[in-house]
Amino acid sequence: MADASIPTPTQEESKVSPAELKKRAKAEKQARRAAQKEQQGVVVNGDNLAAQATEAAPSTPSQLPKVDRPPKAQQQQQKQPKPSSSSQPQAMPVRQRPSQSGAPKPILKKDAPKEDHKQVELFSHLYTQSRHHTFDGVSKDVHPAVLALGFQISSYEICGSSARCVAMLLAFKEAIQAYTTPTGTSLARHLTQHYLSPQIDFLKTCRPISESMGNAIRWLKKLIVEIDPNTPEQEAKDDLCELIDAFIRERIIVTDQAIAASASRQIRDGSVVLTFAKSSIVEKTILQAHANGVSFRVVVVDSRPLFEAKSLATSLMHAGLEVEYLPFSAISHAVKQATLVLLGAHSMLGNGRLMSRIGTAGIAMQAAKADIPVIVCCESVKFSGKVALDSIVLNEVAPAEELLLRQVAKQSDIPEEDGSKGKPSDDAKSEATKVKTMADWKDITNLQVLNLMYDVTPAEYIRMVICEYGSLPPSSVPVVHRLANEGM
């Protein structure tokens, strides 16, 4: 975990003096050491060192909400070791709070200095997921194809659980072909640990990986380990690429066709199909039913900030379907006319709950209340053994700006827009009484913006899950997960 913190650059870095820079380099070095130690099992020590290291770096009162002593004293303590070299054991006082300085904390601070009070405390564990948008600090081992994919993923150019999984496997194919085994080791031993891991780690820094990607990675690693060490390298690589192609074909492409064929049978003449956001499998299902000559209507519900359903509505319209496009705020009206709700999935959890684009749970609840069948279309590669009872533990926090920026651009040419991205301006205090727009949310005290990606839909709202093994009740998801993803 500590590794992730090191390459992350802070914006102010260019402005600091060389002396300051040196100090920081030292601190980073120490953090790295600490991380190593941590991995070796010296947890308490490692924690301390890491905390110490971040202390030396310009820090903010990030932990204030959790601290039980007055904030001022805390700040002073943090400032104390600053002038001296951080390598000295002066930072001992930090030890007082070993329980609070958990390992991920320092990273959190480094990732987003100045923004900590803008993080919603309940979801603070999710802010550790960083989003890479630059080449800085990227490991040299990362293959260009993976690099490109990472940026496409972090900018939502490639969005959706299955699409990301396929794109990742294709990029890995290129990466594997570019790989040569160093002398003195074998492909089966070296490839996963020393070559694939940096690629995966890089992808993780771009956006948290989806369940389907996790399942695919697990499958690929197992595959690599099982390679006979006597196989010639090129042959082994070709085999791997072939198997990856087969995986994409069997677990995603053909599966999608099977699901679309099976799910489209649920759409009858006169049906009104309600769907939310965009799922490629739902799109396929609807198009399939349309191709089968069923006459039905589609209600597409969309929501901010991604407006994914726009492209779905467009493609269905072009196919000649009657489409109604509604905002999320109109769900009660949308549900009233529907006869069937079709949903895609980010992941199906082990307790039969559905993890999908945020807002799905609301749709499913409305539909279940109105006794309208809710059907989830989901490839078994997205099934997960994880269990979530709420949307808090497992989730993804997208940058809060995504929730705002579009609006700002539309409203008018606010000159402060540039300032809003950076640090709070100096005159913020003097103009505290001035009316602020949402673009200045960082300057407004007591305002936090939370942009979650997913929510969890209870299993009671789901009447059927359609996967390539057929139609299941949500309670059978773990059975199929064991069968399909764990080979049991």
Partner: protein, 342 residues
């Protein structure tokens, strides 16, 4: 060509204890014995064709399809195994034909096992609500009445409320009469009520037992019309609602609502002074296309009469399914089916 429909109907009338899925399996085995086939795929093709024919001829094919699907899957997994290459096909076929009776015997034995398991659910002082003419429910209640005593006078004292189907009293009397008489014979008081009185009686009831024509993939059941409303009323009154069914009635069907059973049931029939609205629609389509008229006439006899009609009880109303392999939660049905099919 082998008369599969005739044989199936004959089997059902000859043996009163036989269930529809078992009759279908037996009919298929007889067909295989009767028709010379020399290869695996030929046999599978024959079974497939006969199954389709049978399903076409019987208006409500849900129950029998449980049997035919199970049999087909059995054939596929047994005949197409890679190891079967060295086993003589003729041998396999002879084995299958010879064991046809075993299927039937096992199915009958299952009912005894279920009765043995289920009788423990019946305790002193219970009032049990049940409906229809399910043989497995009947044998379970008989078993409970006889339990712990050799002279058919049991020590468990319970009462039974039997819901008769209201639309045709005489037919319902026929199918449940034997069960009711058998219980009364064993000193068990039985009350008969029309289905309109279920809600009225529900507060006296301790638990409900119903049979099923088919147990569907999500753990719901397809059963005699009226079962669904008993389930709903039992749920509303928080009374346990148990399904008693052999596991060969598990069927690969997943209805999402009542209209999704895949069979034509003319239950809701809108009428005006001119006649049924549906007929009018058909006639209008018929005048447009000409052919639909013929189709409508062909369809008509297929739709089941109301006393044979079934409804679908969703799994959330069901407390447990008593099968010969134990008492299952509805969610376990899908697991059992996945085990058979994958």
């Amino acid at each position: 060509m082998f008369d599969i429909v005739g044989v199936y109907k004959r089997l059902l009338t000859e043996d009163e204890d036989i269930t529809m899925p078992v009759a279908a399996i037996e009919a298929l085995i007889l067909a295989i014995a009767d028709t010379p086939s020399s290869t695996v795929s030929e046999t599978l093709d024959l079974v497939g064709k006969l199954t389709a024919e049978l399903k076409r001829a019987i208006p409500n094919s849900i129950s029998l399809s449980a049997g035919t699907d199970l049999f087909q899957q059995y054939l596929i997994s047994n005949l197409q195994r890679p190891s079967s290459g060295n086993v003589d096909f003729e041998q396999m076929r002879a084995h299958l034909v010879g064991n046809g009776k075993v299927f039937v015997e096992r199915a009958k034995a299952a009912r005894e096992t279920i009765a043995g398991l289920g009788r423990h659910f019946v305790r002193d002082g219970n009032v049990i609500l049940t409906n229809g003419g399910s043989r497995v429910v009947g044998s379970m209640l008989r078993e409970a009445a006889e339990s712990s005593n050799g002279n058919h006078r049991g020590s468990t004292r319970f009462k039974v409320i039997w819901v008769l189907s209201s639309n045709s009293v005489s037919a319902a009397e026929d199918e449940s009469a034997a069960n009711i008489a058998a219980l009364r014979e064993r000193d068990i008081p039985v009350a008969t009520i029309p289905s309109t009185a279920v809600a009225y009686c529900m507060d006296q009831v301790t638990q409900c037992f119903v049979g099923a024509e088919g147990v569907v993939e999500n753990g719901g059941i397809v059963s005699r019309m009226g079962t669904y409303q008993i389930g709903m009323l039992a749920k509303a009154a928080n009374k346990p609602f148990y399904v008693v069914s052999e596991s060969h009635k598990f069927v690969r069907l997943y209805p999402i609502n009542q209209q999704d059973l895949g069979i034509e049931q003319n239950v809701v029939d809108f009428r005006t002074a001119k006649g049924s609205v549906k007929d009018e629609d058909d006639a209008r389509v018929g005048s447009d296309e000409g052919v639909a008229d013929v189709e409508a006439q062909e369809k008509a006899p297929l739709s089941t009469a109301l006393d044979d009609a079934v409804d679908y009880t969703p799994p959330h109303l069901i407390s447990g399914i008593i099968t010969e392999s134990g008492v299952l939660l509805p969610s376990a049905v899908s697991e059992e089916l996945i085990k058979i099919w994958f």
